[in-house]
């Protein structure tokens, strides 16, 4: 099972309520995966600023220490927002790599969930309703976002096993399905110096696509090479800084529904996920074709 949702705003009325729409969509998919949930929201970028998303199992203690530590580095100017077990560090884009390294070296308990100019990832163990409430997703705005509710099959129920997986800047992936060749593919990608946080198959897919894009492929090309190299069942929704893409494997037994109106493009594992959207009864609704890449971008 697992449930996926995605929303791409074409108009301001949707982007102003992006978090609210995505929260409702994700909650409607609770039956498809009640063990963990997560979202990636792409907000407005601030010129020359970057965001680092950090996650901790003991946030009160860890985040205070991290904040204090970063404050001692006079050359780093940053802001620090805490959202439950997650924190968003906003800082000069030139300093992001240095700070990522500092955090990785100094705080082994902290996990970096994502780095980018627009993307923020929030994910936790628990039902979608609890997760969206914990992070107050409904208040968030953005140009597009994707979400996932998980029924674990391949690896443990942990925060890091929840989706979305980000393996590149402003890039993330959610997956419904299971891959059969993820172990061999992981080893191959590790030889190409990609790093992994989990034993999860979907992380391998995210890494595969990021590796492709880092090697100069467009998202479309990277997804098309996934059709050749990935063995298993999948419906993927991939978020990038510009929009989102959809790909189903050639057998296409994992469900997918797309809807488009003049105001938005929406993705759901089922039609139920779309029923809370405005004017859905007037939307063009269709099932994406197998082995075909779809993309909507700003």
């Amino acid at each position: 099972m697992c449930g996926i949702v995605g929303l791409y705003a074409k108009k301001e009325n949707i982007s102003a309520n992006l978090g609210l729409h995505l929260s409702k969509m994700l909650e409607s998919m609770s039956d498809r995966g009640p063990d963990s949930a997560g979202l990636a929201i792409f907000g407005k970028p601030i010129a020359k600023r970057a965001k680092i998303m950090v996650q901790s199992q003991s946030p009160e203690d860890d985040f205070q220490k991290l904040k204090k530590f970063l404050s001692t580095k006079k050359e780093i100017s940053f802001s620090f927002e805490t959202h439950s077990t997650h924190a968003v560090i906003k800082l000069d884009v030139k300093q992001k790599d240095k700070v990522v390294n500092l955090i990785n070296d100094t705080f082994p308990n902290l996990r970096i969930l994502s780095v980018g100019k627009k993307m923020e990832i929030y994910k936790e163990v628990g039902r979608p309703a609890e997760v969206v409430k914990r992070f107050e997703i409904a208040k968030m705005k953005g140009s597009h976002g994707i979400g996932h509710t998980r029924m674990a099959t391949e690896s443990a129920v942990t925060t890091l096993g929840a989706h979305p997986f980000s393996t590149g800047e402003d890039q993330c992936l959610v997956h419904n399905g299971s891959l059969s060749n993820h172990n061999s593919l992981r080893r191959e990608l590790m030889r190409k110096e990609m790093t992994f946080e989990t034993e999860n198959d979907s992380e391998v897919a995210a890494s595969f696509i990021t590796y492709g894009m880092n090697s100069g492929k467009t998202l479309k090309e990277a997804l098309e090479s996934a059709l050749v190299e990935l063995d298993g069942f999948y419906t993927f929704v991939v978020g990038t800084e510009n929009g989102f893409g959809v790909l189903r494997d050639p057998i296409a037994c994992k469900p997918a529904v797309l809807a488009e109106t003049p105001d938005y493009v929406a993705f759901g594992s089922e039609y139920r996920a779309l029923t809370s959207l405005p004017k859905i009864e007037k939307a063009k609704v269709w099932e994406p074709e197998p082995a075909t890449v779809y993309f909507w971008g700003h």
Binding site: I251, A252, P255, E270, Y271, A273, L274, T275, E287, P290
Partner: protein, 225 residues
């Protein structure tokens, strides 16, 4: 007419009313919002009209009743139906009519993959296209496609008939094009008129079925294993 509204009643309540209703009752169902397993297991002649789209397994195991969905349907429409008629005005998702024994399904839009998989006697009419692996291992009955068929149509088919007016992306193992005889034209006409479909041109249809080469084990293939 009885109105059953999802804004007021649960799925379980609605299905209970339908299953326990008197013969010849008529129901109109409102606001289904993609609900799963709506109008399943009905075994008497009633008429159900659903206004809006439904989710998985609508009208599964149907017997005798007429069910119309004014919208689209998710995966598994009319799974294992025995008799009666299902009519969907929009599209249907995967494996519509899977293993159905009898009755008919009319889809005005497209059907996605595996339409009529393992069908055992029902008639399925799709006014649009069907996806890949449709009529996979179909045993009996008729799949009529006004639009195009996806890859591997009729793979490992037994004695079901497939009629296609559009293009076929590819045929599955042991499925071949067969001669459209007068007998088959009149059968096709019957199927369409039984489903109240009137706008068609019989000459545009081609017929596909089993080459029957997989029916018996061929000893020459033993060395493959």
């Amino acid at each position: 007419m009885n109105i059953l509204d999802f804004n007021k009643l649960s799925l379980r309540d609605i299905n209970k009313v339908l299953q326990e209703s008197d013969k010849n009752s008529f129901f109109s169902i409102r606001n289904p919002k993609g609900s799963h397993a709506l109008a399943v297991g009905i075994n008497k002649q009633i008429t159900v009209k659903v206004i809006g789209s439904v989710g998985y397994y609508c009208a599964g195991m149907n017997k005798f009743s007429d069910i119309k969905v004014e919208g689209s349907a998710g995966p598994g429409l009319g799974e294992n139906m025995m008799s009666g008629n299902i009519h969907v005005t929009g599209d249907v998702s995967q494996y519509a009519g899977a293993s159905g024994h009898g009755g008919s399904i009319l889809v005005e839009g497209n059907a996605s993959s595996r339409c009529g998989i393992s069908m055992k006697g029902l008639d399925i009419i799709v006014k649009g296209n069907v996806g890949h692996m449709s009529a996979f291992m179909a045993q009996k009955g008729n799949l009529v496609i006004f639009g195009n068929a996806g890859h591997a149509l009729g793979d490992s088919i037994y004695e079901a008939n497939i009629y296609v007016a559009g293009e076929v992306a590819s045929l599955g193992a042991d499925c071949i094009e067969k001669k459209m005889t007068k007998k088959h034209l009149s059968k096709l006409e019957n199927i369409l008129s039984n489903a109240n479909v009137s706008d068609y041109n019989l000459d545009t249809f081609r017929r596909f079925g089993s080459a029957r080469s997989l029916y018996n084990f061929n000893v020459d293939n033993a060395k493959i294993y």
